[in-house]
């Protein structure tokens, strides 16, 4: 009996059979998850086990089958099992959508009829769109400038202090907070009750303004300043990112270089501009481009804080509005393509860096 079970063809049949059973069971699991009315905790536990276990099982059984194939075929098919699923998802979710969205951007709201450049003409002439471009430009310039410069200042200063780790952890902390959560935190800072007898402002900013003898203001509905109050939130969230990356670059500057400069009598300012900045130039560029891209795609903060009203709309929010509020898939696609075109220079830069790194 044993030799038969051990022979390769039989094991292969067994492997394929178990693959079929696993796929069937996973499909049943999906149907259960979709239609179930079980208690939430049961659903959560089942979902986690089903999702994670399912993927692990599929890989295991696929490899099991492949390794039972004749020798030459193993080397040919195994790369597909290893790299294939990842690439398939990449193509489905990112690579192919680039072209599909491009096609949709030339079509009408339902994607049925060809419309030529109409969506693009609208995107570059409509008053609301031009306002979003202006706002995104402000986010890019001011947001990036304050994130990078504050991050740099904090990194340089903290490097000189004994309590570096504490300071850095505090500045870094917002990176763990969602934009929606950050929105709540800052909305509370900006909150406004208005004038009236017996009313005391409960928002920190208005309380400070009142304490200095000013008038309380509805900060978030005051264009164009409200944009800056929103940009503050991004600076609060992203400075930690700039600080951490720049800090590690600063620590990479050879100590002898700094010492030699100090012995030659260079002031701290001269060292900062003469040595620190040139040494971390590459990192500065990386951090700046990352934050520029971030501010280009920015959505959550505006969505939660103002919904894009009162002159605070941004490109990504207009994309959302076009697709989901006005149901115009064509217009939304054109906006997405514009976003993509804006990041192409960074993409080319990354590809060039990759070629130079000779990882392959």
């Amino acid at each position: 009996m044993k030799p038969v079970l051990d022979s390769k063809p039989v094991r292969l049949i067994l492997a394929v059979l178990s693959a079929v059973v696993i796929v069937f069971l996973l499909q049943r699991g999906f149907v259960f998850l979709r239609d179930t009315t079980a208690s939430k905790i049961v659903i959560v536990v089942f979902a986690v086990l089903w999702g994670v276990g399912g993927v692990a099982l599929l890989y295991t059984v696929a490899n099991w089958i492949v390794e039972l194939l004749p020798g030459k075929w193993v080397a040919r098919v195994q790369p597909i099992v290893f790299v294939g699923p990842g690439l398939a998802l990449l193509f489905w979710f990112l690579a192919i959508p680039v072209f599909r969205t491009l096609v949709l951007s030339f079509r009408d709201p339902t994607g049925q009829k060809f419309e030529g450049f109409g969506n693009y003409v609208y995107a570059f002439t409509n008053r609301i769109m031009i306002e979003t471009f202006r706002n995104n430009f402000m986010w890019m310039v001011f947001g990036t400038f304050f994130c990078v410069s504050l991050g740099l200042i904090i990194a340089v200063l903290a490097d000189k202090s004994r309590y570096e780790a504490v300071y850095k952890a505090i500045i870094f902390m917002p990176m763990a907070i969602s934009f929606v959560g950050a929105g709540v935190i800052w909305k509370f800072v900006y909150t406004y009750k208005g004038e009236g007898v017996g009313i005391s402002e409960i928002g920190l900013l208005n309380a400070i303004v009142l304490a200095f003898g000013g008038q309380s203001q509805p900060w978030l509905i005051l264009p164009p300043y409200n944009n800056f109050f929103l940009i503050v939130i991004m600076v609060w969230l992203q400075t930690g990112f700039a600080m951490v990356i720049l800090s590690s670059a600063i620590k990479g500057i050879p100590a002898e270089l700094l010492e030699a400069a100090r012995i030659d009598g260079a002031s701290e300012f001269q060292i900062f501009f003469g040595i620190t900045i040139p040494s971390i130039q590459g990192t500065l560029i990386t951090v700046t481009t990352t934050i520029v891209i971030f501010s280009l795609k920015l959505f959550d903060i505006v969505r939660v804080m103002t919904g894009g009203n009162n002159g605070t709309n941004v490109i990504a929010n207009e994309f959302y509005l076009q697709r989901f509020t006005y149901s115009d898939a064509g217009q939304a696609s054109a906006i997405a393509v514009i976003l993509l075109i804006a990041v192409i220079p960074v993409m080319i830069y990354n590809l060039r860096q990759f070629r130079e790194s000779r990882a392959f």
Binding site: V83, G86, K160, A176, S200, V244, A336
Partner: protein, 365 residues
């Protein structure tokens, strides 16, 4: 030498002073939300959260009834001091230091006597806000004027569980898939290997808005819109470029001789992968796992589009409270904190790995 010492002390002081100032600005908004979440809802609407600090405040110590015969539209005299109704309502400081303030409107005919007192601690800190915002049932709370409000709860309880059901698989699945792919790119030979990896690098900065419209079409056709599977797949697809890129860089650097000796011993790729590469890659896996977990947990856009209301996650639930009840600070602050607990814990306990991941992956947009 001495002057150098004092100069050093001074610059040290300036450095720390500046940093403490910046850190205060950074932490005070969060602190305000944290404190507010434990305050009584009535008090939240009446006074700023900083009033829980020791301070001097007018406290009501008695009241005066104004006789029906007094014309409230003309000047009103109380204890020998005469003012108009508006002035009384704004509060008048009497010669003896007490403040008299008209309570309510003209018809109440009541004046409160208030004396300045030091308030050291605010009493009545409560967990009520947390209980209310977590509950999906009917909730009751008091607004600023002491009126009781009855409302449907926001059911953050279920949103929290949904977030877990989304975040854990959406963290582990892309890691698993990316790890296999990274191993394939690093140690296997196949046609188009370099070209395909170039595509991975190119996709690193592609804004995910480009994918939302077509993917939504696919999901509608496949009838999986709103399911957990749909959002796991989306997060996996969007997270894969960075995951493959990071893990490839790591796995590619592992010494080649390990692999060769394993091959000579007759081990298959799959065995080498599970028994050698996975354990060796734990630091890189941890870095990316934290990255992806925080990203998925904090994501709003992807879940807003691919998850229905019955499976809504924390960020969606929180944004919904902002939308419907933008001024309900007792619910918002407690909700915000519940949404932050898990990511903050992960973040502070595994900060080292997170920083490493950031440094390795700072090419991503």
């Amino acid at each position: 030498m001495k002057s150098l010492q004092t100069k050093n002390n001074l610059s040290n002081f300036l450095v720390n002073f500046t940093l403490i100032l910046i850190c205060l600005i950074w932490i005070v908004p969060t602190l305000g939300v944290f404190i507010t979440s434990f305050r009584n809802s009535e008090k939240i609407f009446q006074s700023g959260w900083w009033t829980i600090l020791p301070h001097n405040e007018y406290v009501k110590t008695g009241e005066i009834k104004i006789d029906e015969s007094v014309d409230v539209n003309g000047p009103i005299t109380v204890d020998g001091v005469t003012h108009t109704f508006e002035e009384w309502r704004a509060g008048v400081v009497m010669p003896d230091g007490k403040q008299l303030t008209w309570y309510g409107n003209k018809r109440t005919r009541q004046i409160d006597i208030q004396t300045q007192e030091w308030i050291w601690f605010e009493t009545g800190m409560t967990l009520e806000n947390y209980k209310n915002v977590l509950s999906g049932k009917e909730i009751r709370f008091k607004d600023g004027s002491g009126q009781e409000i009855v409302r449907q709860g926001n059911n953050l309880n279920s949103a929290f569980l949904n977030s877990i059901a989304v975040a854990i698989p959406a963290t582990i699945i892309p890691i698993l898939i990316a790890c296999f792919a990274a191993y394939g790119f690093a140690w296997m030979n196949f046609f188009g290997r370099k070209f395909l990896f170039t595509i991975v690098v190119a996709l690193l900065v592609v804004p995910l808005q480009i994918a939302l419209v077509p993917i939504l079409q696919d999901y509608t056709k496949l009838n999986i819109n709103g399911t957990f599977l749909a959002i796991w797949l989306a997060h996996t697809g969007f997270g894969l470029p960075l995951a493959i890129y990071l893990l490839f860089n790591y796995i590619n650097q592992l010494p080649r001789d390990i692999l060769e000796s394993a091959f000579i011993d007759g081990a298959s790729h799959f065995t080498i992968f599970t028994n050698l590469i996975l354990p060796l890659s734990v630091p890189a896996l941890a870095s990316f796992a934290i990255f992806q977990f925080l990203w998925v947990w904090n994501d709003y856009l992807v879940s807003l589009i691919f998850l229905g209301d019955q499976n809504r996650v924390m960020t969606m639930a929180l944004a919904a409270i902002v939308g419907e009840k933008g001024q309900d600070w007792h619910l918002l602050t407690a909700g915000a904190f519940i949404s932050m607990i898990l990511p903050l814990t992960v973040f502070f306990s595994l900060q080292r790995f997170f920083v490493r991941g950031l440094l390795a992956g700072s090419v991503k947009g």
